[in-house]
Amino acid sequence: MSLDETTRRTADSLVPLLYDDLRRIARRARWQVSAGSTMQTTALVHEAYLRLRRSEGFNDGPHFLRAAALAMRQILVNLARDAIAAKRGGGAERVPLDDAPELPAESASAILEVSDALDRLAERSERLADIVECRFFGGFSDEQTAQAMGVSDRTVRRDWIKARAWLRHELGLAADLPDVP
């Protein structure tokens, strides 16, 4: 399933909204008394959805979900690049904003590597790459991924296993290979 123009455009309009919301959540999270609480990204989509509904007037669930996954990917990749640039000592074109959520350097590299590897996977199988985009970047469950892609839950689960194996191999994440005769 390839992304059509509309989905890309939707994703583009989602990016600034989601990014804004991510920052807002980051700010709120900063005020939590208990440290180390994970960020609640669920609230993020509520707000983005309502704005989009008002401005674009679209109702298509799968369309929105695909666009949201793509948008989240763009955001996370941007944050990762910012984090790495900041570590290198600034002077980068993108100035990190005050309340941006942070990424430890390791996580930032990991995100960029996954995104690059995903592009390579997409050359071989767009479907598998889309599933990774939904699950990993979009944070969707199997059911939501299935809805976004228009396939069954079962297909999603099986595809995910394949895609994950390929990525782990590609990224060198797999454990030591057992001895195979």
Binding site: A26, R27, R28, A29, R30, W31, V33, G36, M39, T41, T42, A43, L44, V45, H46, E47, Y49, L50, R51, R53, R54, G61, L65, A68, M72, L76, L79, A100, P101, E102, L103, P104, S107, V114, R124, S125, V132, F136, F137, G138, G139, F140, S141, E143, Q144, Q147, A148, R158, I161, K162, R164, A165, W166, R168, H169, L173, A174, A175, P178, V180
Partner: protein
């Protein structure tokens, strides 16, 4: 990707497909099979196979979990820091909005310890708004609301608030920790409702009510936090971004569309709170869900009824049976998607809970005044003569049942009288029967309570009689509002019936139909349909397809098919009516079927047909054995509405009068169910020109209502009063009321009509008072809104357009006025509506201003001709306007003699229909004086 690479990938995917289903030990063989001679492929597959299993720290979690909040190096302000008269003592915590400190007042006069909330700079809106709203919120003085004591702007520009320091535990946790019983939970919840209702009366909405904001103090009292905070920090209206200050899991659906939140969002939140209090689980659990699932959950799925949610828990805090029925219905009514369908206020919600505790009928299950859920089955049934007599005999304590039965048969001709007598005894205790007799409720209930064990004992061997009696008694319990007893007997009846498979099917079917009616009133349409289907099977099995029972089934089927389309519903009721006619022409169910059939026609816009059905229903009602005056009031009201739509003016007046009178006798003058029918009746009188009578009615009505009004019925009836004040020219009296009403309707968006209609009245009143700028704003706003939401032919839009055009004409903007008048005239499409006549008179005035006398003459004459044949809604004062317009025209043209009778005609109407202070009256008098002066004879 080239062909070779594509082929290579195919092989990899195929291999992985197989490998993921095989245990690791068998991988080697499968890989060998797939790879064949291709060593590179084999190596690749080996590596991939190893990567299939196991957990992956990176990929298995969503990427967003890698993000961390920005580091907070801020330890808060130091101890001793001063904000206004307050001295900070230490940081209590950080909330979503900012820091919270403990502080004390230190100005030497007295000490007071408070919580100070210091808001994040970017969370605050404008400073003047903060100060303005702070005044309103500080005025909230209620034991259940944490008091806002002080507030201001810190030197760094951040707003701060000093709030009563509350020591307490969030309410759900408090109840869970003590395993509080239902009554205690409801009592606490009642305190919350009182506090919310208090704030709403001062038009302050919370917007973020949730368990975390509702604390219980060590004394066991409730305290609400953060009331009014949202409004204090709100961005000004029209700002580009609207910071969303609500918690997604506790927000009402309309909050997601960014609309201005009204009191209904708090009612929704109260519903969620009640749910969570009863089940100890959020009604909308979103915290653990992924993005898209959370979104779907809140925007598309309705929360489960509490009893069902409780059933899904292993160890629910309260038994599901306690929650089913009333409490399910009450929560459902608070959680309706449509804000207008919820309880109108926290008070109403509280009142319904109290009714539940007193075992009185709960409003949540009654529906609005046009919806007759399950009425066919809930009325006193014409009890079978024998059953009644047996009941009487048992209650009288007679041991020799056989003898009594024989005597009863011998006295067959008195059966009907006995029946009526007993029904009167029961009816006297039913508040829905208009009556001046003393209530005999205790007597009836005691009678039944004594009878039930005797029924079971003495008829243990006669199941058919036992069932019949249990059925009869259970339904009487229902009428008395004895829910628990009603349901218990219902179940007992089913149990007895089922001891003999294939027998007593009719009795069982009746129980299922009763249950369908009950759950339908709780809006569980799916469950109602299931019960209807169960009853269907039983009725068919019993071979009773041609019977009263089947007729009752058809009524229920029609009522549960609300989504299926008009034809299906009409057919169902038609079937019911036919069956009633054949088998029981005086059955109360027939009245219901006829009324419902009328509603189907009304919903389809066919007022004429609906009239016929309603009249048939009323006729049937007259001959029904036992009558429900509440039902009759509903039918009269429906009838009046249809007549109004058809312009059968006097008839409509009579119908509403009947409805109001019945309402008064049934509910009394101090009851909300009386106010709206009474107000509509009064308005009809007023439109017909009976100003004094109408105003007397309004005065008497309003003296029986809280002023200012506190609920939807109060404001809706006041809106009718405002209509009349403005129409008769009492603008000064109308204006403050209209402003207050606007405030209410803006907070509680009813159907668009109410608010926009109010804007028109407001503009009209301001125009009369010479407040031109304000009038322009309101009249134009109303006009534009109608243009946005209605087609040109809709009468309400025509009215708004004509009024706006008339205003423009008065300001000399003739071109635009002319355009708009022409548009209204064209929109009439031969229907003969009043506003077309007004528009034509408007065109006459334009023509006169432009010196086109001939056009002006013919237009004003044409307007009056139209008026003679006007159809539909009209106000007699419009006639005065038309005569006045013509008179002015004629005078301007020097035809004083012709003008005089016109002016007189206008004055004849205006002198009685307009208020003494009305400018229209003065104008008319002046016109007549000039005409007389210019042509004395």
């Amino acid at each position: 990707m080239n062909d070779a690479a594509a082929a290579h990938w195919q092989r990899i995917e195929a291999a992985l497909d197989e490998l993921q289903d095989l245990p690791a030990a068998e991988h080697a063989l499968a890989i060998a099979r797939h790879a064949g001679d291709d060593a590179a492929l084999k190596a690749e597959l080996q590596a991939l196979a190893a990567a299939l299993g196991g957990d992956d720290a990176l990929l298995d979690q969503p990427a967003a979990t890698l993000l961390t909040p920005p580091a907070s190096s801020d330890a808060g302000l130091p101890v001793g820091h001063r904000l206004g008269p307050w001295r900070l003592l230490g940081l209590i915590g950080r909330g979503g909005m900012g820091e919270v400190y403990r502080a004390e007042r230190d100005d030497g006069q007295f000490t007071q310890t408070v919580a100070i909330k210091l808001v994040r700079a970017d969370a605050a809106g404008a400073a003047e708004r903060f100060q303005r709203e702070r005044q309103i919120v500080a005025g909230l003085d209620h034991p259940g609301i944490a008091r806002l004591l002080d507030g201001g702007i810190a030197p760094d520009g951040r707003p701060y608030m000093a709030i009563e320091l509350v020591d307490g535990q969030p309410i759900v946790a408090w109840c869970a920790a003590r395993a509080a019983p239902l009554a205690q939970r409801l009592a606490l919840f009642g305190e919350v409702c009182d506090a919310v209702a208090y704030a709403h009366r001062r038009l302050v909405v919370h917007r973020d009510l949730k368990p975390g904001n509702v604390l219980v103090t060590p004394e066991g009292r409730v305290k609400l936090l953060d009331f009014g905070v949202a409004r204090m920090l709100d961005a000004p209206a029209g700002a580009a971004t609207h910071e969303l200050m609500f918690t997604p899991g506790y927000a009402a659906p309309e909050q997601f569309s960014g609309a201005r939140p009204g009191t209904a969002v708090d009612v929704y939140a109260l519903g969620l709170l009640l749910h969570e209090l009863l089940v100890e689980q959020p009604a909308q659990p979103v915290a653990q869900l992924s993005l898209a699932a959370a979104l779907q959950q809140v925007l598309q799925q309705d929360p489960l009824p509490p009893s069902r949610a409780a059933r899904q828990r292993e160890r629910p805090p309260l038994a599901p049976a306690l929650l089913a029925g009333d409490l399910d219905a009450i929560v459902a009514k608070a959680l309706r998607r449509d804000p207008d369908a919820r309880y109108g206020s926290a008070d109403e919600l509280h009142a319904d809970l109290q009714r539940h505790l007193r075992h009185e009928p709960v409003l949540a299950r009654r529906g609005n005044w046009r919806y007759l859920a399950g009425k066919a089955l809930r009325r006193h049934r014409a009890l079978a003569g024998a059953a009644l007599l047996l009941l009487l005999a048992i209650a009288a304590g007679s041991a020799a049942v056989g003898r009594e039965a024989r005597l009863a048969r011998q006295q067959a001709e008195r059966a009907t009288a006995v029946q009526r007598f007993l029904l009167q005894v029961f009816a006297a205790s039913d508040p829905r029967t208009a009556s001046d007799k003393p209530r005999g409720q205790i007597t009836a209930r005691e009678l039944l309570d004594a009878a039930v064990p005797r029924i079971n004992a003495e008829f243990a061997a006669r199941p058919e009689l036992r069932i019949e009696l249990l059925g009869a008694v259970s339904r009487i319990y229902r009428e008395l509002g004895e829910k628990a007893r009603y349901q218990a007997l219902q179940q007992e009846l089913l149990d007895v019936a089922q001891t003999q498979p294939g027998a007593f099917l009719a009795a069982q079917a009746e129980v299922w139909l009763d249950r369908a009616g009950d759950v339908l009133a709780a809006s569980d349409i799916d469950l109602a349909r299931q019960h209807v289907a169960t009853a269907d099977r039983l009725i068919t099995q019993a071979g009773l397809d041609d019977s009263v029972l089947r007729a009752q089934w058809w009524v229920m089927a029609g009522q549960t098919r609300t989504l299926d389309g008009a034809t299906e519903r009409a057919r169902a009721f038609d079937q019911a009516i036919a069956l009633f006619e054949r088998h029981a022409p005086h059955h109360p169910g027939k009245v219901t079927a006829l009324t419902e059939r009328g509603l189907v026609a009304y919903d389809g816009g066919d007022n004429e047909t609906s009239l016929r059905w309603y009249r048939a229903a009323l006729q049937a009602y007259e001959t029904t054995v036992d009558r429900d005056d509440g039902e009759a009031q509903t039918i009269w009201g429906n009838l009046g509405q249809s007549q109004l739509n058809l312009g059968a003016y006097d008839d409509a007046e009579a119908s509403f009068k009947a409805a109001a009178e019945l309402a008064r006798r049934t509910y009394g003058e101090r009851h909300a169910d009386y106010w709206v029918p009474a107000a509509v009746h009064a308005r009809l009188l007023h439109l017909n020109g009976h100003r004094d009578a109408a105003m007397r009615m309004f005065d008497s009505l309003r003296s029986g209502m809280p002023q200012p009004p506190v609920d939807a019925e109060g404001w809706e009836s006041t809106a009718n009063y405002i209509d009349c004040l403005v129409a008769q020219g009492s603008a000064a009296q109308a204006l403050p009321l209209a402003l207050a009403a606007e405030r209410y309707f803006a907070l509680k968006p009813r159907t668009q009509g109410s608010l926009h209609r109010l804007w028109m009245r407001l503009g009209d009143a301001q125009d009369q008072l010479g407040q031109t700028d304000a009038a322009r704003r309101n009249l134009e706003a109303a006009y534009r809104r109608y243009v946005d939401t209605e087609p040109p032919s809709r009468q309400t839009r025509m009215a708004a357009t004509e009024r706006w055009a008339r205003f423009l004409l008065g300001r000399g903007e003739e071109a635009e006025a002319q355009r708009l008048f022409t548009e209204v005239l064209a929109a009439d499409q031969g229907r003969g509506l009043a506003h077309a006549a007004l528009a034509q008179a408007g065109l006459a005035r334009v023509a006169l201003a432009q010196g086109r006398w001939a056009d002006a003459d013919s237009a004003s004459r044409g307007a009056l001709v139209r008026w003679q044949q006007v159809r539909g809604f009209r106000d007699v004062r419009m006639g005065a306007y038309l005569h006045r317009t013509r008179a002015a025209l004629l005078l301007a043209h020097g035809e004083a003699a012709a003008a005089r009778p016109e002016a007189q005609a206008a004055l004849d109407i205006s002198s009685s229909a307009d208020a003494p202070e009305a400018s229209s009256l003065a104008e008319t008098r002046a016109l007549l004086a000039r005409a007389v002066a210019a042509a004395p004879h």
